[in-house]
């Protein structure tokens, strides 16, 4: 099924050798040729010396899910030769370093081996060890350029942009690039049957990772306090926020910063800092991953019970425990939805890609302040750390933050008495005052039992009144969180339900299912609690598949608990391998159930 602008290739290298930049160079060059492209980085949880992979998919139709078939592999890591060579589809191609003989045991006769003396060429061309290692990456980039008919002007241009200030480095990289390119031209008939051809399909798009996009959202939403503790794959979010703040939030004259980023001593402290800042009136957030969410449970319950706004970004990784920190999963759903002991429920937003990370990040801050409660944005490693092709991010300058019900001096003065937790409007949301607002608005936040006046209580009725209000408030959030994206097809006989990063794979799967005669409507859930639209879709479909990336069908559990939709009316399609979802996995999951046999 490979062809012009429709194929996938993969680099198998050693981490810490600089291959990442070459891989990025290739992907971005294809992007600049106007061709839709996706890149997935599959890397180990260490710093240097272990196998790492980069998969690039080119798709004229604009499919961005992880490819299932690999047409070409660049095998540069002896430690993973066997595995890498095995992943190439029959008829595919293996590019390897012919400086050393390839173990015959590894050869396959259903694939073509193209040997390129990367090592030898580098040793000849360069003297310093560092260069010999680093530049090898540019050499294979050049080789691929030739094999795939990449417009070489683009990578050259990009190298110029990157190393403009370092002519020597630039020159070396260009030489390396040419070495690989020329060798391929001279020894193989280029281009390969599957290759690149200019298009004009990326003009309005960008390549960006979800962590950066979410950070931009926080910047534009007016977040001023960010508290965190480093953890893969969430680290990039705060680092990006820091970089953007240094660029847009520092007074050029005084060097004064209009933001505060605190690297806390742990996740408990990070949550405490964010909650303290939210109470004080700042838009505050913390970013973490599963282990951090577990450690923040107590503080989350405090914020819930005391109506304090705060945004939590959970960039999910493969659990449980430390799990696989550099693999992706959607397995924190239950931990987030009902975080903390006692009766608690929390709004969650589920971005499907970096573009939504930007939008939902902004929405999360509005929702947190409007509903005065912790709001979660559930990313995952794939969305957070990989570069995705998405539409350019846009901003409406008319936007004003929704601070929710905050009483200013006049509003306060107008009141006969201020009762922090009185539900005046019947929406479960009570007006708050900020510290510093004076005697009349002063109140005492307590995680212990309190009545609607924020006074301590051990009285059943007074306690329940507050708990019931919180339940009402949560119910109201159902229509305020992002509504599902629903794609209906005439004559659909099944409904596919999914969330977050599964989106791309599920949409592609729906197309492929149609080709095999299964017409499916698709609903991608974007927020928790679930609103009427979600309920309707589920009720309107006889046969439902719930596609998610965890072992225990956690999304399905939430749907069952919150909407009362019978569990067994929803067939789970679960993928918890730790890698981005592929359309094939979805197609197989569905067809296996429908026909009893895999597609």
């Amino acid at each position: 099924m490979s062809g012009i602008n429709d194929f996938a290739f993969k680099m198998g290298t050693v981490n810490g050798t600089g291959s990442a930049s070459a891989n990025g160079l290739l992907m971005q060059s294809i992007f600049r040729m106007g061709i839709p492209v996706t890149g997935k980085n599959v890397f180990p949880s260490n710093i240097q010396g272990l196998p790492t992979w980069y998969e690039i998919r080119v798709s004229a139709e604009g499919y961005t899910a992880r490819p299932t078939e690999i047409d070409l592999v660049v095998a540069l890591n002896p430690a993973s030769y066997a595995k890498d060579i095995a992943t190439v589809r029959p008829g595919g191609i293996v590019v390897h370093d012919s400086s050393f003989p390839l173990d015959p045991a590894l050869s396959r006769d259903d694939v073509t081996f193209l040997g390129v003396p990367f090592g030898a060429m580098c040793n000849q061309a360069f003297t310093r060890d560092r260069d010999r290692t680093l530049l090898r990456n540019s050499v294979y980039a050049g080789t691929l350029g030739a094999l795939l008919a990449l417009d070489m002007a683009i990578p050259e241009q990009m190298l110029a942009e990157r190393f403009g200030k370092k002519p020597a480095v630039l020159k070396a990289n260009l030489t390396a690039l040419k070495l690989g390119y020329d060798y391929a031209k001279a020894h193989f008939d280029c281009p390969l049957p599957f290759h690149l051809e200019r298009m004009d399909a990326t003009r309005d798009s960008i390549l960006i990772d979800g962590n950066s996009a979410a950070a931009l959202g926080a910047l534009y939403a007016g977040a001023t306090v960010g508290a965190w503790y480093p953890i893969t794959p969430a680290t990039g979010l705060m680092e990006a926020f820091k970089a953007f703040c240094e660029r847009y939030r520092v007074d050029p004259d005084t060097g004064h910063r209009r933001y505060a980023i605190l690297q806390a001593e742990d996740e408990l402290a990070a949550a405490g800092i964010a909650i303290g800042a939210g109470w004080a009136g700042a838009r505050a957030f913390t970013n973490t991953s599963g282990p951090g969410i577990s450690l923040m449970q107590e503080f989350i319950g405090l914020a819930y019970y005391t109506d304090i706004p705060c945004v939590f970004f959970d960039v999910q990784r493969c659990g449980p425990a430390t799990g696989m920190p550099t693999r992706t999963q959607q397995a924190d759903l239950l931990s987030l939805a009902y975080a903390s002991h006692g009766d608690t429920k929390h709004p969650i937003l589920f971005p499907a890609n970096p573009h939504e990370c930007f939008d939902m990040s902004v929405q999360a801050f509005d929702l947190a302040e409007r509903f005065q409660t912790p709001v979660f944005v559930a990313l995952d490693l794939d969305i957070g750390m990989n570069d995705w092709m998405v539409p350019r991010l846009a901003w409406d300058d008319a936007f004003r933050p929704d601070r929710g019900k905050v009483l200013d001096a006049d509003a306060l003065a107008a009141l006969p008495r201020f009762s922090r937790y009185r539900d005046v409007d019947g929406d479960g949301i009570a007006a708050r005052t900020l510290p510093g607002s004076g005697a009349k608005g002063a109140y005492f936040v307590r995680g212990s039992g309190h009545d609607q006046h924020a006074a301590y209580t051990e009285d059943s009725a007074a306690y329940q009144e507050v708990m019931d209000r919180l339940a009402r408030k949560f119910a109201h959030a159902a229509e305020a969180v992002p509504q599902p994206v629903i794609r209906l097809q005439p004559g659909a006989d099944v409904g596919l339900v999914t969330l977050g990063g599964c989106d791309a794979a599920v949409r592609e799967a729906a197309d492929r299912l149609r080709d095999v005669g299964v017409v499916a409507d698709v609903m991608r859930i974007r927020g928790f609690p679930f609103g009427a639209a979600v309920r309707d879709f589920l009720e309107r479909h006889e046969k439902l598949f719930v596609i998610e990336q965890n072992r225990d069908a956690q999304l399905r559990s939430l749907l069952t608990i919150e909407l009362g939709v019978p569990r067994d009316s929803m067939i789970p399609v679960l993928d918890y391998a730790g890698l981005p979802l592929s359309a094939t996995a979805v197609v197989q999951g569905v067809t296996r159930h429908l026909t009893g046999v895999p597609a």
């Binding site: 798009s205 910063r257 209009r258 933001y259 405490g272 350019r392 936040v445 301590y456």
Partner: protein
């Protein structure tokens, strides 16, 4: 945290401070602590100190964790916002509040369980960050609210009400704070208002983290023979080293027994602290000397009280963060959002 509305009886002192407020205006809800609890005396000292300082109630924020001691933030300054958070985590909540609004004066109250067991990490890192706050540690050597288990500050040999002796070495918050680089370290005793009030005022005026370890006996579980945190024991062993006498610029207050050997330290906010070294044993601006002195007292079974160390040159959290002078909560949104043009320009870098 229980707080009962106070019956309206006129307060003895109707004297008004610089803001025209009476001491009564600095009080809070009625205490529900045990009759005679040391913590109530500390509350009274805080009321006195804030009143004498002309501290505007709306500019103060009361922060605490969980415990009998942590409940007391409800018993003073009812006109101020208060945050009774979770056990041992008040430092992080205050760090966040301070980051968001540096314009407020943060008064933290904690206990030895709250600070030295579950909260040891957060206390230590708040010290390291030099969060600008007064941190009052009401130290009774036990977990009062959970009925008298030993805390990490219980001294070896000290026996709990059940008569079992503690066998683990105590953690001295003063030595810990000195080791971690605290810029204001003091210790006092709930029964010695004359010493405590000026120390609290100095701590409030200090720019940075000011920790005051207050020996505050638990009458229900630890104020009996054998307890080294009892009134009796502290009176017998309290070796006062440095008297503190806080002098706001407006009006000078001097302790009745103020006298010789006075070293005046300039406080960052322009006011000054007059330190008198009881036995002239150590220079309260020398960290090493302070440490040696306190450790020495401990070794002799004495408790060094008074303002033990002070460094007015320390940089508080916001200095490290280089934040704008305006509290972040007051920075207008227009100065926070780069706008559409900037975003459009930025997008070209993602191609």
């Amino acid at each position: 945290m229980t707080s009962i509305a106070k019956p309206p009886v006129a307060h003895p002192s109707a004297r008004r401070n610089g803001l025209g407020l009476t001491v009564r205006d600095y009080e809070g809800g009625m205490s529900t602590l045990c009759a005679g609890c040391g913590h109530d005396s500390v509350t009274a000292a805080i009321v006195q100190a804030t009143w004498e300082l002309d501290l505007p109630p709306h500019r103060a924020a009361k922060m605490s964790g969980i415990g009998c001691s942590s409940k007391t933030t409800a018993y003073f300054m009812k006109q101020s916002h208060g945050f009774n958070s979770v056990h041992g985590r008040m430092p992080s909540v205050t760090t966040g509040a301070s980051a968001a609004n540096r314009g407020l004066i943060y008064i933290g109250v904690s206990g030895d369980g709250d600070s030295l067991s579950i909260g040891l990490g957060q206390l230590s890192h708040a010290i390291r960050r030099n969060v600008n706050m007064l941190y009052v540690l009401e130290n009774n050597g036990v977990y009062g609210l959970t009925k008298g288990q030993f805390s990490a500050s219980a001294d070896i040999g000290s026996t709990s009400k059940q008569g079992v002796a503690n066998e683990q070495p105590p953690i001295d918050p003063v030595l810990l704070a000195l080791t971690l680089g605290a810029t204001f370290v003091a210790r006092s005793f709930s029964g010695d208002k004359q010493q405590l009030v000026p120390i609290l005022k100095a701590g409030l005026a200090h720019r940075g983290f000011a920790i005051v370890d207050v020996i505050s006996p638990c009458v229900s579980f630890n104020d009996h023979e054998g307890s080294t945190k009892s009134y009796a024991h502290t009176r017998a062993h309290g070796a006062e080293e440095v008297h503190t006498d806080f002098v706001p610029l407006r009006r000078e207050i001097t302790l009745p027994d103020a006298a010789a050997d006075v070293s005046v330290v300039q406080m960052h906010d322009g006011s000054s602290v007059r330190l008198r070294s009881g036995r002239g044993e150590h220079d309260p601006t020398d960290r090493a000397a302070a440490y040696a002195h306190v450790a020495g007292c401990n070794a002799r079974g004495e408790i060094a009280t008074g303002l033990l160390f002070l460094d007015e040159s320390g940089r508080e959290m916001h200095d490290h963060l280089h934040t704008v002078p305006t509290p972040l909560v007051d920075v207008p949104y227009a100065q926070l959002c780069p706008g559409s043009a900037a975003l459009d320009a930025l997008m070209t870098e993602f191609r």
